[in-house]
Symmetry: C2
Subunit: 274 residues, 2 copies
């Protein structure tokens, strides 16, 4: 198993890459080789290199038949800026691998899934910096290497997809938006005010494309800044409101979020089916 | 001229209403009567009363033939939550008046314009609290009372529409989104990071509906929080980038923004045509 790591958005620290490599060797021995593309460590303003550098690195790994998986180093911001260029440059070899990321990486997961590729929402190398990040790395690697069922979000029992709420809001109406008909849609959020969570749910549930999902599950909404005045509703009350307004089924909580407990959600497949 | 003020989003201070009334009397004497609906001063969490109270007040004024204009008291957050209810409840009398607001009020401006009503983007009573807010009030009232050409955004020379960038992003793909084909689209922003401005422009210019506009003009982007790391581009460089990527013409700056200089942009009409 050979996994290539690229950074389509913000840059990764070299030290984090070294710790991930060491952890993978300790936990999985010679069963997996993890290759951090040097682009991960470039810096250009907000990004891990300019748009061209990030797109080229992504394509170099995606189109290389030697790799079995493409792991997004980090979220942050920038995946959407290169998505069209990446999608236009993929070759047949890109179809034989799994793509794992989340957060800002959702822009690429969406576009890749819309194109028929195998993608999953789950932990990424930068998560090693979190408290408990070791477990997140082992979960991601167990999924990539073995398709381990224990890495998966536990409610999975049919086609699903998972997104950061704000990222999904920014996908509506673009060419990156996949067909989510019949999927259980899992949403998580971080560092957004409650009014902004409400506004994004107004948007997402107001989309005809999203109204075709089988239902919505709410992941964790963390690091919510104080609302002034107090918003008066919890994230779950908010999502229940918008599900009721839009006629979308609310299915309960999902075990995903911007934290070390973030479970893996393969898009479009049943539990255990990888 | 009878102007009704309602608050579809956040609440207005009573003292602000009194100052607006006094200013209108001093500047326009008996030529205009401004009626603040008591709903403006309600409080329910983030909002000027709950969704039902805000929608009912809006409809009471919009559907009352005695009023010539509906002025949105304040932005904040909440207009989108009541937009569907408002649109479903409008009667013929609602078609004989002008609707003036901006910021969060863009949710309603969009839906009302999509329904064929006469709307404009411009100063609102809460703006009186800004430095130079008196001039903003006189500009708005001159437009409402006389259709004064000097109140209008100076570049206007064909069909136009104006939005807060984040609000437009949240309209994409919803039933509130109007047909902006052939319109000059003016965008302004406040209190958003440069990466979020970039992301919203990715979204807005990635929409097939928006790609039919005649071009984009950039209003002021104010109170931008520090970007970490520095984003490396100005708002105008960002909008030029996304216009180039999407094939939309960039037409230069627009004299709108979250400030006292915010000029009036009537949707869909030429300068002077009200």
């Amino acid at each position: 198993m050979k996994i290539g790591v690229v950074a389509p958005a913000s840059r990764l620290e070299q030290a984090t890459a070294e710790r991930v490599t060491a952890l993978a060797e300790a936990a999985f021995g010679g069963r997996a080789e993890i290759v951090f593309h040097p682009q991960c460590f470039l810096s250009c303003g907000h990004f891990a290199g300019d748009d061209a550098a990030r797109a080229e690195a992504f394509l170099a790994v995606a189109n290389d038949p030697a790799f079995d998986g493409v792991w997004f180093a980090r979220g942050g911001y920038g995946s959407g800026r290169i998505a069209e260029r990446v999608l236009a440059g993929l070759t047949a070899a890109a179809g034989n691998k799994i793509y794992l990321g989340y957060s800002d990486g959702g822009f690429l997961l969406a576009g890749l899934y819309a194109k028929g590729l195998r993608v999953a929402h789950g932990p990424i190398p930068h998560d090693l910096r979190r408290e408990g990040g070791d477990a997140a790395m082992r979960r991601a690697l167990s999924y990539l290497i073995d398709g381990a069922p224990q890495s998966l979000e536990p409610s999975l029992d049919g086609p699903a997809a998972a997104f950061n709420l704000t990222i999904l809001s920014h996908l509506i109406g673009t060419r990156l938006m996949p067909d989510l008909s019949g999927h259980v849609l899992m949403l998580e959020e971080v560092s957004e005010h409650l009014y902004a969570i409400d506004r994004a749910l107004f948007h997402v549930t107001g989309s005809a494309a999203v109204r075709r999902v089988a239902g919505i599950r709410l992941g964790r909404c963390s690091d919510i800044p104080p609302n002034d005045p107090p918003f008066g509703q919890t994230p779950e009350e908010i999502v229940r409101h918008w599900c009721a307004v839009s006629g979308i089924a609310y299915l309960g909580r999902a075990d995903i979020g911007h934290d070390a407990d973030n479970k893996v959600v393969p898009f479009g497949v049943r539990k255990g089916a990888r």
